[in-house]
């Protein structure tokens, strides 16, 4: 435990960063046991920064709005708060970093992909996704291998790896061989497919054609993630599938539009987004398309 003094205007207060950086922190990634204290702000101009720091320590979710307003100059003190023992403080510091921006953030976020608390991992995923760059690849591979009992994390981390063009597909193929969980396997297959691996693409198309329900929704999300022509052109069979998959209805105003987008509606939207054809009808995210409109989409793909 250490005490850090922050000066707010003329008011000197002490903030106890309880166990903020104690050795043997609950963070599973082995953070530095003795990080520097949160910077002391002395001038009146530092007041917004101090208030931001206080809010994060107090676990006030509105801190993210302050971080967005302050911008990248908040990154350094926020990054120090990511080592706090309290998972809520860690999560909030990461969410503030997402809003503030700053240099080298992807590696900071990636450190927390193996945090023992799910909401910290979620914030780390969101941050890594927003600020991803190739330098983070070794951390992602390590996090993938360290998420043994978290198949949903393995899926998400694989998807991040697939966004790095320089990623070695052999690394992912090796993990695929040993992966037994369907969710994690699907994520690895999607990543391989995005990276151009031919086996990955074949497996992906097979998965897309056989998936049902929530898994089909996930595969449609993967098509959006892959965002390549071959994936859009594999959507032909889904244009026949009228299973409701995504709720867009707003409770309280049930007549505003369809309650759900069906598999075929999502597929048509993806075809429009990726292939950019000219349809005779408007495409949006709130329409159940007619059979004629779905047929027009099939013609775009060159299928019956």
């Amino acid at each position: 435990m250490f005490v850090n003094f922050l000066k707010l205007g003329s008011l000197l207060i002490s903030i106890v960063l309880s166990n903020a950086c104690r050795e043997g922190s609950t963070n599973a990634i082995g953070l530095s046991p003795t990080p520097s204290p949160v910077p002391v702000a002395n001038s009146r101009g530092d007041r917004p920064m101090n208030e931001l720091i206080q809010k994060v320590i107090a676990k006030d979710p509105t801190a993210t709005l302050d971080a967005r307003r302050i911008g990248s100059s908040a990154a350094e003190p926020l990054s120090r708060l990511t080592t706090n023992e309290d998972p809520l403080v860690r999560e909030l510091a990461l969410r503030c970093l997402i809003e503030s921006g700053g240099d080298g953030l992807s590696r900071i976020f990636a450190k927390f992909l193996t945090d023992e608390y799910g909401s910290v991992r979620g914030a780390a995923l969101a941050g890594t996704s927003k600020y991803i760059d190739p330098s983070v690849l070794p951390q992602l591979i390590n996090a993938l291998d360290s998420s043994g009992d978290l198949p949903e994390m393995r899926e998400q981390i694989a998807l991040l790896i697939g966004r790095i063009d320089s990623a070695d597909t052999r690394e992912l193929l090796a993990r695929l061989e040993n992966e037994n969980d369907q969710l994690a396997r699907d994520g690895i297959v999607a990543a391989l497919a995005k990276l151009g691996d031919q086996r990955g693409r074949a497996d992906f198309v097979d998965g897309l054609r056989n998936a049902k329900g929530d898994r089909l929704k996930r595969y449609l999300d993967y098509v959006d993630y892959i965002n390549q022509e071959w994936a859009a052109k594999a959507l032909g069979p889904v244009l026949y599938d009228k299973t409701p998959l995504m709720r867009i209805g707003i409770d309280g105003i049930p007549n505003l539009g369809p309650g759900n987008l069906r598999a075929c509606d999502i597929a048509l939207n993806l075809i429009a987004k990726i292939l950019k054809p000219t349809f005779k009808f408007p495409v949006d995210m709130k329409t159940n398309y007619t059979d004629e409109q779905l047929q027009e989409a099939r013609r775009v793909l060159g299928v019956k």
Binding site: K59, D60, P61, T62, T64, L65, R68, P87, L88, E91, L92, R95, C96, I98, E99, E116, Y117, G118, S119, R121, G122, A123, L125, A126, T128, S129, D149, L150, P151, E152, M153, Q156, L159, L160, G213, D214, P244, M246, R247, I248, G249, I250, D251, G252, I253, P254, N255, L256, G257, G259, N260, D284, M285, K286
Partner: protein
């Protein structure tokens, strides 16, 4: 005192049942029990390893819950002991700390989560009730799924709506603090903690004091001090939507926001729809917010069936007691439709708050279970890159 029980041919006798420890408004450490069906696949896919069946309750690591033990077909004085099948996962004691249950028809047991699953897959142990001694035959089991807590941030806004003339502002009269406490109680059953910010007070200028019109003014609301990385809940006096009378709340999750072009996602709750007022009904408002949060966590309505003019979604107790039923409150006054959550001031029954743990996809009625396993779905969504915000 023994009691006679005549059996014709064969009958399955249930000596003991487990129940939610309270009736009415949800309480933080008294979660509902997923007692739907008798068999469920193990969430890790390893059925042989656990082979448990029957009722399931969700518990957070490091925290406790109370569950009611009901002596259904066994004497109130029968000697019963309660034990955990795996104390590295959870411990269980009679309410006052002993292993032996109190005599009487009903008693509470206290279950403490010791070590939970960090993600969507729980660690599992069973509460076992032994007859006679603490190693006697097991006559009842309750499966306990322990999870490590995941956090969701929520920012409540109390918005005063006034006209340009000023001096006529009307704010929400809801007791937002009480509402949020109940929201926390509902989601605690999924080991989802809600980190609630202090109430943010704002004033906006709209055409009519106290009223927000769909859609332009709603859009303005959703841009008012909207906090990223949180679910934003706006409490106002009234929502007005031309042609749609009676709107009390709107839940606009991220997909809704994209589809209908709102500037941000958010939940908007009105105290009144011009007729009925729910401002004083914190249970109702909390259930609505908790339900909308379910949509933010990608949960659809029960069995994918929405409310229509002809039907209030699925109309049986199985569905009415679930948080993700489309209707709060329901009009079925028959005792068989009592969800156990009480009746609102207008005589209608509150929607239940059960967030399903089991995934009964292997049942004979599997077609109607595509929306099961809501705890798993929610926790997966909350901890994903897209997140719930």
């Amino acid at each position: 005192m023994p009691f006679p029980h005549n059996v014709y041919k064969t009958q399955r006798i249930v000596p003991i049942r487990f129940e939610r420890a309270v009736i009415g408004t949800p309480v933080l450490d008294m979660p509902d029990i997923d007692d739907r069906g008798w068999f469920r696949p193990d969430p890790a896919g390893n059925n042989a390893a656990t082979n448990d069946h029957g009722f399931v309750v969700g518990v957070s690591e490091g925290q406790h819950v109370y569950i009611s033990v009901e002596r259904e077909k066994i004497e109130g004085t029968a000697t019963l002991f309660v034990k955990s099948s795996d104390e590295t996962v959870m411990t269980v004691k009679q309410n006052l700390g002993a292993d032996q249950l109190n005599p009487g028809a009903t008693t509470l047991v206290r279950i403490e989560g010791v070590s939970g699953g960090a993600g969507a897959i729980p660690k599992i142990a069973r509460v076992q009730v032994h007859f006679g001694t603490n190693t006697g035959p097991i006559i009842a089991e309750l499966s306990v799924w322990v999870y490590r807590n995941v956090n969701v941030n929520l920012v409540p806004h109390n918005v005063t709506i006034q006209t340009a003339a000023g001096g006529d502002g009307v704010a929400s009269a809801a007791n937002i603090t009480t509402v949020m406490d109940t929201v926390k109680a509902i989601w605690k059953a999924a080991a989802v903690g809600i980190n609630v910010a202090a109430i943010q007070n704002h004033t906006v200028i709209f055409a009519t004091a106290g009223v927000a019109n769909w859609q332009a003014e709603i859009n303005t609301l959703l841009s008012t001090s909207w906090v990223p990385g949180s679910i934003n809940a706006y409490f106002i006096n009234q929502i007005l939507m031309p042609g749609v009378p009676g709107v009390l709340g709107l839940g606009i999750s991220r997909p809704n926001s994209v589809a209908f072009g709102t500037p941000n996602p958010g939940i908007i709750l009105g105290d009144t729809n011009g007729g009925a007022s729910r401002a004083a009904d914190s249970h109702y408002l909390a259930n609505d917010i908790a339900h909308e949060m379910g949509h933010f966590f990608t949960l659809p309505h029960v069995d994918l069936i929405d409310q229509t003019p002809a039907h209030q979604g699925r109309e049986e107790i199985w569905a009415l007691r679930m948080l993700m039923h489309p209707t709060n409150t329901h009009f079925f006054s028959d005792f068989r439709n009592d969800t156990g959550y009480g009746v609102a001031g207008d005589g209608t029954g509150y929607r239940g708050s059960l967030i399903t743990l089991k995934d009964l996809v292997d049942s004979g009625n599997a077609a109607h279970h595509s929306t099961d396993a809501e705890v798993k779905t929610s926790r997966t969504a909350i901890t994903s890159a897209a997140g719930p915000y």
